[in-house]
């Protein structure tokens, strides 16, 4: 790509790698305090019209949803564990990071998530408590514009009101509510960073139903704080791929980062403080790639914990049908959840939350998808189910019917679809990790990340329990279960956590309670990679809260220098 943007280094106090929610909130928080901030982002900057384009790509099966940002060579990876990593379907490299296509669900973690070792003898305690993070949660909710209702009896404690009114329950939520009431299961409003009213100069939700590619601007993305950081003087350089970090001769500080720009030039950027904010995979990879004589196993890795303790959120879904209409697919987001099973009270099946879908039996894609006849024939031969063979026999050319015979996917019935999803916690295990695959290289000849992940017994037990609860609810609702997705053959979720974990012991953790690396005094990490445990809730609000807290510590450091 050719453009006239200046991507050469500049004088700065703080250099941040990555412009997702962690990087953007850190940049904004420091820039508005008067600090010079530079953000290096590997991906491109998107324009408003690009979000309309992404919506069409999201809805059309013959477009690749990730074609907008993915560069195959740059983003190559290896997946070696039981769970396929599918990184390029879930993360997004662009200004704004993965928040550009996130679902925008923003529950807080629960107090127990910070005390898993003390309470249950599992995982690790965080070096900070829920109460330590609580004011930052409230600030992150204001910054992102979270809508919600304080109606969750099993939710984490809170006193600050949500910045916006929550979205009322959907029609299908009202069907579930009766069944849940009978079972004594409490439902609550799902908090999310989607505007229920005009907020912070952005539109209220218009109900396009395609939240991953929201074209209205009602969904928060980190592009918001990139823009605000720039208004306070921060400099954001897109298409700047950071190749490695360089430490000083004593191994006490980071001196510079090397980054490459689209014109093929490699630049060296110096700064007083450096912040890694490139997610749970690229953050440890960059540290492992930045080995030196002082850090032969990777920068900031004297503990050996860099890349280890990778966690995601295992999830299961129960799909069912009802004889009465359920009004699905009018909006893309979830309106109700349950935290009833989040705090089990004793070691055993762990935490999970439930969400009640408004998009059961998704109709995205319409009638456009058509496999070539040869592909279908091969499919029928290799997997000769009765329906596959009958399909090929009756329609050998896979002819599309047009006019009155046009088949559009439908939620019409009877029967009508409903579904419940549950996501749970995964314990930190050293064997789940990000390493470097030295047999495969990226566009700059660097080893690609290799991801090894498996669920383990705790996650399996937890999600088995979750499926039992889902079945009970469906039975009480009078719904007939049609399919269940289990942990077997599941792909990796969108949440990557734990790979530069936080702790007080420099021999067992990578960053301290302030998210500064134990090894290098001017290197900080703002990412879900610092989570010592995963909890069962979506991580982004916690990422934002930690970023705001870390920015305060960086500000204190700069101010006292």
């Amino acid at each position: 790509m050719t453009d006239d943007i200046d991507r050469t280094p500049s004088d700065t106090e703080v250099c941040i790698v990555g412009s997702g929610p962690a990087g953007a909130l850190t940049a904004y928080s420091l820039a508005r305090r008067g600090h010079d901030v530079l953000v290096l982002e590997a991906g491109e900057r998107l324009e408003r019209a690009d979000h309309h384009r992404r919506m069409e790509m999201w809805l059309r099966p013959n477009f690749d949803r990730d074609a907008f940002w993915r560069e195959d060579e740059r983003d190559a990876f290896t997946s070696t564990g039981d769970i396929y990593a599918r990184l390029n379907e879930t993360r997004l490299k662009a200004v704004g990071g993965t928040s550009v296509h996130w679902d925008a669900n923003t529950p807080r973690l629960h107090p127990k998530d910070f005390e898993m070792q003390s309470r249950y003898g599992l995982g690790r305690d965080w070096p900070i408590s829920y109460d330590d993070l609580r004011p930052y949660y409230a600030r992150a909710e204001r910054e992102m514009g979270v809508s919600g209702v304080d109606d969750n009896p099993y939710g984490p404690p809170r006193t600050a009101p949500y910045p916006q009114e929550g979205f009322p329950p959907s029609y299908s939520d009202s069907l579930f509510a009766e069944a849940c009431d009978s079972l004594g299961i409490s439902m609550a409003t799902q908090p999310k960073a989607i505007n229920s009213e005009p907020y912070d100069g952005r539109s209220k939700c218009l109900g396009y139903g395609v939240c991953n590619a929201c074209p209205s601007g009602a969904k928060y993305t980190a592009e918001v704080h990139v823009r605000k950081a720039e208004e306070h003087g921060a400099r954001i350089v897109d298409q700047a791929q950071v190749l490695r970090l360089e430490n000083d001769a004593d191994g006490e500080t980071v001196e510079s980062v090397l980054y490459a720009t689209p014109d093929g030039t490699t630049h060296r950027q110096a700064a007083d403080q450096f912040v890694l904010a490139c997610g749970g995979i690229e953050t440890p990879r960059l540290l492992l790639l930045s080995d030196s004589s002082q850090y032969p196993d990777g920068l900031a890795n004297s503990s050996g914990a860099v890349g280890r303790y990778l966690m995601d959120h295992p999830s299961v879904t129960t799909n069912a049908v009802l004889e009465e209409p359920t009004q699905q697919n009018n909006v893309g987001w979830v309106s109700s959840r349950s935290d009833q099973f989040y705090d089990p009270g004793a070691a055993g099946p762990g935490s999970f939350h439930l969400t009640f879908d408004n998009t059961a039996r998704s109709v995205s894609g319409g009638a456009q998808s058509r496999k070539p006849a040869s592909t279908r024939l091969l499919g029928a031969v290799t997997s000769p189910t009765l329906s596959a063979l009958a399909d090929v026999a009756t329609d050998p050319l896979n002819e599309t019917s047009l006019g009155d015979s046009l088949e559009l996917p439908t939620t019409d019935g009877p029967p009508y679809p409903v579904s419940i999803r549950g996501a749970g916690e995964m314990l930190p295990r050293a064997e789940n990790r990000v390493t470097l695959d030295r047999s495969k290289t990226d566009n700059h000849g660097r080893p690609v990340p290799s991801i090894e992940l498996s669920d383990g017994a705790h996650a399996q037990r937890t999600m088995d329990h979750c499926l039992e609860v889902q079945a009970d609810i469906m039975a009480e609702l009078g719904a007939e279960i049609t399919s269940v997705s289990t942990l077997s053959d599941r792909p990796m979720s969108t949440h990557h956590m734990g790979t530069t974990r936080m702790g007080t012991d420099p021999e067992a953790s990578v960053v301290d309670a302030q998210c500064r690396t134990h090894d290098l005094e001017n290197l900080w990490v703002a990412s879900s990679s610092v989570f010592p445990t995963s909890g069962a809730n979506n991580p982004t609000l916690t990422i934002g809260a930690l970023a705001l807290k870390t920015a305060e510590h960086i500000d204190e450091t700069l101010s006292s220098a």
């Binding site: 395609v210 009018n330 456009q368 006849a373 939620t411």
Partner: protein, 196 residues
């Protein structure tokens, strides 16, 4: 190589004529190209949708005729719907509208050669035969594939995308506000009878 691409390769070999815009570029004038495909000069049909849009009114009319043939009869089709939902939407990828126009012209050439008229002059049933005889209904949509695969990707799927992101598809899908259409907030709480 799939069966579809083999069919398409032979099709390509028999239909090498330049597109309308290639003619425009090569000959430096609109009159030759427009005349060659019967769109006339100075007529309403020859009118471009805008200075930067490659489609003319004639392309919209042809696409509307195809929509009328591929949508169920219960769906009302009019030119303004097709124009707004297909031609005036944000272009999804660079060159998409150019390719859409080319595929409309490919269908028009086939209709004229095999059925003796523009698609706008044929019955909906005959328009479906035009598409079937081009093999469009039996191939996978491919943006860089054979003529049939490209017609499927650019023309048919653009029209289907317009339909299933519009409340016009409601009687077919049972969804009040389909994904891709603003208005879900007014619909998601509504009971089947219409009350919240």
């Amino acid at each position: 190589m799939t069966d579809g691409s083999q069919r398409g390769d032979s099709e390509r070999a028999t239909a090498p004529e330049p597109t309308r815009r290639q003619l425009l570029g090569a000959l430096g004038g609109a009159a030759v190209a427009a005349g060659a495909y019967g769109y006339g000069t100075g007529s309403r049909e020859a009118e471009q949708l805008s200075d930067s849009h490659p489609a003319s009114r004639a392309h919209v009319e042809a696409a509307t005729a195809v929509a009328d043939a591929i949508y169920p009869q219960s769906v009302a089709v009019d030119e303004s719907f097709v124009e707004n939902a297909v031609f005036r939407r944000v272009e999804p990828t660079p060159g998409h509208f150019d390719a859409l126009v080319e595929t409309i012209e490919a269908v028009e050439r086939h209709a004229s050669a095999r059925f003796g008229a523009s698609v706008t002059g044929l019955s909906p049933g005959t328009r479906r035969q035009v598409l079937q005889s081009m093999n469009v209904t039996a191939v996978h949509a491919m943006p860089d594939g054979t003529t049939a695969e490209r017609v499927r990707f650019y023309l048919l799927n653009d029209l289907l995308y317009a339909l299933f992101t519009s409340p016009r598809s409601r009687p077919l899908t049972g969804i009040e506000n389909p994904p891709g259409h603003p208005g879900g907030l007014a619909a998601y709480r509504r009971a089947p009878g219409g009350d919240e």
